[in-house]
């Protein structure tokens, strides 16, 4: 089976056919994963709220996603009369296609991409930034002030958080000395990058939450007052493209990226694929998927826990905390790598500086968000009175 699979996608195949088949595989896996993730999130959040989640459709509600998909696909596709036709119709695709294109450069197994890009990491962060255009298009074309407000907010948020995301992966690619995702993953055979660079991992996790407009950063979507942000006017299949596909495919893609870049992908605990012989690809897939699953669960856990930030808090957190610390990490990495110590020393220095930075960042956040206690507030008032 393994030989067959590698054989089908060997080099002597027609390039276009090869790319087409790989694309088909990614599309199918993505669709199934998206459905599974929707089910998983509903179950997981349900358990956090001490509910059961979906239980009626199929055994333990496993067919819920299929039922939802059927319902969404058969719903009426409504377009406001004053909407800008082309922009309105195309906006979901402009949002979804970049998210899908990020999946094309991800190595799900050792050397198994849709296309092996030398600048894979750069390509992914570059292409995922295009999503903003879809948001703006949708908000503008809907001819609805809430949609426009949501679009402007999401543009501000996505553009802001794109930068910490880039800085996070940039710091790692400096350590790895490569932008090729396969190379970055293979270099983590003994120590995963999350140990060498804990601060960029935290930054990346935060940026993922913000990029996907998930709970602590769901200002553009804002169910309670913006009713879906740029997507107020969308319904039926277009809404399902945005919501189901874009959000969850994005979550999946970013989590795979995090698993490859930070958690060591298929390479980390045992290194080579010689153990499993022909079935090495299964082992690699299992490892990559379970690591990305960990990240997905963390993201869901965080988004089920925290209430929404205010927009100024969101911006302040990005520009005043994540961004300076990201730059600091890049700077320190540059200094450490310039002097090029031996590998063990380098790893120790990188780990020490990055975790020290993480602690400092946590302390800065603590100082920034600390509320004075009741005694302190009363004391301040009394002191002010005694001055008078």
């Amino acid at each position: 089976m393994g030989q067959l699979l590698w054989g089908i996608f060997g080099v002597d195949m027609n390039v276009w056919l090869d790319a087409f088949l790989r694309l088909q595989i990614v599309v199918i896996v993505m669709t199934v994963t998206v459905m599974a993730l929707i089910y998983l999130e509903r179950k997981f959040v349900g358990r956090i709220q001490m509910r059961l989640g979906p239980m009626r459709t199929g055994p333990f509600g496993t067919l819920q996603s299929i039922a939802d998909a059927l319902k969404l696909l058969t719903k009426e596709d409504v377009r406001p009369r004053t909407a800008d036709f082309w922009l309105f119709e195309l906006a979901p695709y402009v949002t979804f296609v970049p998210v899908f294109m990020t999946l094309l450069a991800l190595p799900f197994m050792d050397g198994w991409f849709v296309r092996d890009l030398q600048l894979g990491l750069f390509y992914i962060v570059a292409i995922s930034g295009v999503t903003v255009i879809g948001y703006i298009m949708a908000g503008w074309a809907s001819d609805n002030k809430y949609a426009l407000l949501g679009a402007v907010r999401s543009a501000a948020q996505l553009i802001s958080y794109e930068i910490p995301l880039i800085l996070g992966v940039l710091a790692v690619s400096m350590v790895a000395g490569s932008l090729n995702l396969n190379d970055i993953t293979i270099q983590q055979d003994t120590v995963p990058n999350v140990i060498l660079q804990p601060l960029p991992f935290v930054i990346l996790l935060t940026a993922i939450l913000a990029e996907l407009s998930r709970r602590p950063f769901d200002i553009p979507i804002g169910e309670s007052e913006l009713v879906g942000g740029p997507w107020v006017e969308y319904s039926g299949i277009r809404w399902s493209i945005i919501f189901a596909l874009t959000e969850y495919a994005g979550l999946w893609g970013f989590s795979i990226l995090g698993a490859l870049v930070f958690l060591g992908g298929w390479e980390f605990p045992f290194g080579t694929r010689s153990w499993w012989g022909d079935f090495a690809f299964l082992y690699q897939l299992l490892l990559v998927f379970s690591k990305s699953f960990l990240i997905i669960l963390t993201v869901m856990w965080i988004s089920a826990t925290f209430p929404r930030l205010r927009i100024d808090q969101l911006m302040a957190f990005c520009w005043k905390i994540l961004l300076p610390f990201g730059f600091l990490q890049v700077l320190i990495n540059g200094i450490v790598l310039t002097y090029d110590p031996s590998e063990t020393v380098r790893d120790i220095i990188l780990f020490a500086t990055s975790s020290a930075l993480l602690v400092v960042m946590a302390y800065v956040i603590y100082l920034a968000t600390r509320q004075p206690s009741r005694e302190e507030r009363v004391g301040a008032i009394l002191a002010a009175r005694s001055v008078q």
């Binding site: 349900g46 956090i48 709220q49 001490m50 059961l52 856990w301 826990t305 946590a362």
Partner: protein, 154 residues
């Protein structure tokens, strides 16, 4: 910052708890002993007849006038099998009208009527509201089948 970690811990601990949801149509929560659904008639197993003598006490006391009772001479009394000289002939309660006030139970001199304290008293949806007018046999069925749990002193 510490609050962030603490709240993450709180959600994780609630996730590990048992869900409180009861999947209602398939599993029922236990009805409390003093649950008050609609009134039903009780069956005297000693003489195989209802406790009710058709005395109209409940009918007169009913604030919403949902009851209709008729009385007849008890044939079993003539045979000497029963102490009751009169027995109910027909008994109708309109469940659509009843407001479950419990007054009929309190005024009954023979403890012949009780409030249904099982789930059957709550799942009564019908297509036509005339189907909610219960006759004598329907009212006695639960008690005859020994399906209610006693909570009125009897």
């Amino acid at each position: 910052m510490i609050g962030v970690l603490r709240s993450l811990g709180a959600t994780m601990s609630t996730m590990l708890r048992k869900p409180v949801t009861i999947e209602y149509p398939t599993t029922h929560r236990k009805v409390p002993e003093r649950d008050r659904a609609f009134p039903i008639l009780l069956w005297d197993f000693d003489v195989a007849e209802p406790f009710c003598t058709g005395c109209h006490a409940c009918e007169r006391a009913c604030p919403v006038e949902c009851m209709t009772v008729t009385m007849k001479d008890n044939p079993k009394h003539a045979e000497g099998a029963s102490k009751r000289r009169k027995i109910l002939d027909e008994f109708f309660i309109d469940y659509a009208r009843c407001m479950r006030c419990n007054i009929c139970v309190e005024v009954c001199n023979f403890d012949a009527i009780a409030m249904n304290n099982t789930w059957t008293g709550h799942e009564l949806s019908v297509v036509d509201r005339r189907d909610l007018v219960m006759d004598r046999e329907q009212l006695l069925a639960l008690s005859k089948g020994k399906q209610i749990r006693p909570w009125v002193p009897s």
